[in-house]
Amino acid sequence: MSELVLAGGRVIDETGERVGDVRIVDGLIAEVGPRLSASAGALVLDSEGCVVAPGLVDIHVHFREPGREDAETIETGARAAALGGCTAVVCMPNTEPPLDDAAVVQAVLERGRRAACAVHVAACITKGRHGTELAPMGELYDLGVRMFTDDGDCVADARVMRGAFEYLGALAGSVLAQHAEDPALVHGGHMHEGAWSARLGIPGRPAEAESSIVGRDLALAKLTGGRYHVMHVSSGQTVELVRAAKAAGVRVTAECTPQHLVLTDGACAEFDPVFKMNPPLREQHDVDALRAGLTDGTIDAVATDHAPHAPETKASPFEEAPAGMLGVETGLAVVLSTLVEPGVVSIGAALGALSWRPARISGLDAYGHGGPVSIGRPANLCVIDPTLRWVVDAHRLASRATNSPWHEWKLTGKVRHTLLDGLPTVRDGELNQ
């Protein structure tokens, strides 16, 4: 029998906040209460002044395996996730080969079994992500996949999207997730189409490229009764559409990234491709609309879209560099520093967006993630020091890549411990090897 005690913290989960230590026995939560005394031989992890919460669940990461292991592997990505407080992640299927086939999905899940967090996957909607023929979603569902997306690309054909909605009606608990960027409208664009792109001479991607697809998809979701999830919302127009659709009873959820809650297209002014991503960083009024959406529940979850790229690929001119930013290790700290500390969002709401709500959207609650810190549940937890100040060094993150837009940012809040099934993957701020 192994025992571990998290001592000195306060517990925050979906039921609320209470001061209490947490005792974990054989990987399950055994007791929660103030000033618990540890048994002899128990491992005590100092959690003084910290928040003890369900482990974070990042439902949108790219771990690049198979195919682009020069940028990241499941092992290195999971380590970064654990340092970021995650006990589970959902990997996107735009690998090489893509996750549109049972054998590849099985291989990835197998690799993930030994990783520092639980590794789940989203699988493709269409074969090869070409957007024309449906992938064998039933087979992949049987392997445990619940989220289907062609992420990286948009399913632009309305007929294909309708078919996917209808087909998934037979697969309980599944959700259709869209990377909403109309390919015809974003073609040739590399940043948000706005005053900055006009000044810099870089062709842009208008916000309408996202909202027009979301509007259409919401109509199809309503038509078919399907479940729809909007990934990385970037524009206020989209927030409004989602808000109205929820009010009308459409089964829709939405996520956005930390960077879209903080940064704007002005970050591209020096032509540094670290700030290039799809969908692009947009304007201040979009940032404000996303924050309002997070506050009123229109945006359910914060997911980082962790997108590592081999450093030499990002060391090129803006228009030629690949799009995407690192995020899984810094996501929580960025949210705490930019939204919680200034009082825009409460820490409970932030944790909800980072942990239990994405767990429910992705079906990972069934695997013991995101749930309340209560007796009998698996100990998938993170311990956060909300006042620790630290400076991000892009070259010293656990990811293989270094393309973090937060390099040299001074953040407040850091993960002290992360427990996966009761075992520490992160201890005192460091990976537990």
Partner: protein, 323 residues
């Protein structure tokens, strides 16, 4: 001023007196400097040893013989040594990244790198990888600062040292034109009144904040302007895959926005015509207009060398202590 990546950088030009207090004084200082170099280019021996022992490298990822030769002539007339990496002559290895190429050049010891690239911001990247001074010779649709300088220099030679209130119409594919972006900044700083003219599909999508007027009707604008600045329709910048949604045909473009002979006849007698070259005769400008006495096109080209000498001198020669 360490690099010239955009016209705005001239606001930091150290004229050895007080640092330029504004973009306008920085531009004017550079233009005054250019006059000294025009004189040098007119001598029997059109050369001074000002940059002897310095090396200037041309890094041209876009084919442009004229601009490249203009920069190389400028460097040589200052007594500098030159090296050329040009995609046209295949000495730029297409498999080699920009970073690798710059690091190779760095290792050879250079003082200035002149960069032309089809992607905006490429010179900015180069500047972050080298201790040499970087000159932007055209980056994508972003800027072409030395073009704006030679245009302003040429214009001042005809309209006097003050361009306050000079009415300039810039006509054509503004959205895709680095020449337009640089000229808007430079000519506005010098006091010109600017109007951008062209079809709506060729205007930048968001022009709020630009210190310009916009018109889609060339005829409306022509009667009052002092200068018509024509841009080349950039056939190589359109998306080869998509439908051309900029305008239906070149004939239609030319009919509505070209400086045809009848239109030129309606200009004021002293209105000048400018073009960055090379010209699509019969498209944005009628052949007879291009060759008319109003046209400053050949002068623009001639002044290019002196302007680039002034720029190289400012970056490499007259600066502060060598680190």
């Amino acid at each position: 001023m360490k690099h010239l990546l955009a016209v705005d950088d001239l606001a930091e030009l150290d004229t050895s007196g007080p640092v330029a207090t504004s973009l306008r004084t920085g531009i004017e200082s550079m233009l005054d400097l250019t006059a000294s170099f025009v004189e040098v280019t007119q001598r029997d021996i059109p050369k001074v040893p000002a940059l002897r022992g310095k090396t200037v490298v041309s890094l041209f990822y876009e084919d442009s013989t004229r601009t490249r030769l203009s920069f190389e002539a400028a460097a040589k007339r200052l007594g500098a040594d030159t090296m050329t990496f040009s995609v046209a002559t295949s000495s730029v290895n297409k498999g080699e990244s920009l970073l690798d190429t710059v690091q190779t050049i760095e290792a050879m010891g250079v003082h200035a790198i002149v960069v032309r690239h089809s992607a905006a911001g490429a010179p900015h990247r180069v500047a972050s990888w080298t201790s040499a001074s970087v000159v932007n010779a055209g980056d994508g649709r972003h800027e072409h600062p030395t073009q704006a300088l030679l245009d302003a220099f040429t214009l001042r030679r005809h309209r006097g040292p003050s361009l306050d209130g000079c009415r300039v119409a810039i006509v054509g594919d503004i959205a895709n034109s680095r020449v337009a972006r640089s000229n808007v900044v430079a000519l506005r700083a010098l006091g010109c009144d600017l109007t951008l003219v062209g079809p709506p599909t060729l205007m930048p999508s968001r022009i709020d904040g630009w210190p310009v007027a916009v018109s889609y009707d060339l005829d409306d604008v022509l009667a009052d302007v002092d200068v018509v600045y024509l841009l080349r329709i950039q056939l190589e910048r359109i998306d080869a895959n998509g439908a051309d949604v900029r305008f239906p045909t070149l004939r239609e473009y030319s009919a509505r926005w070209g400086l045809t002979a009848p239109r030129a006849a309606r200009l004021k007698p002293d209105t000048l015509v400018m073009h960055p070259g090379p010209m699509n005769r019969g498209v944005e400008i009628a052949a007879e207009v291009a060759d008319s006495v109003r046209s400053l096109v050949t002068e623009q080209v001639a002044n290019g060398v002196a302007v680039r000498m002034a720029v190289l001198w400012s970056l490499v020669g007259s600066g502060g202590p060598v680190v």
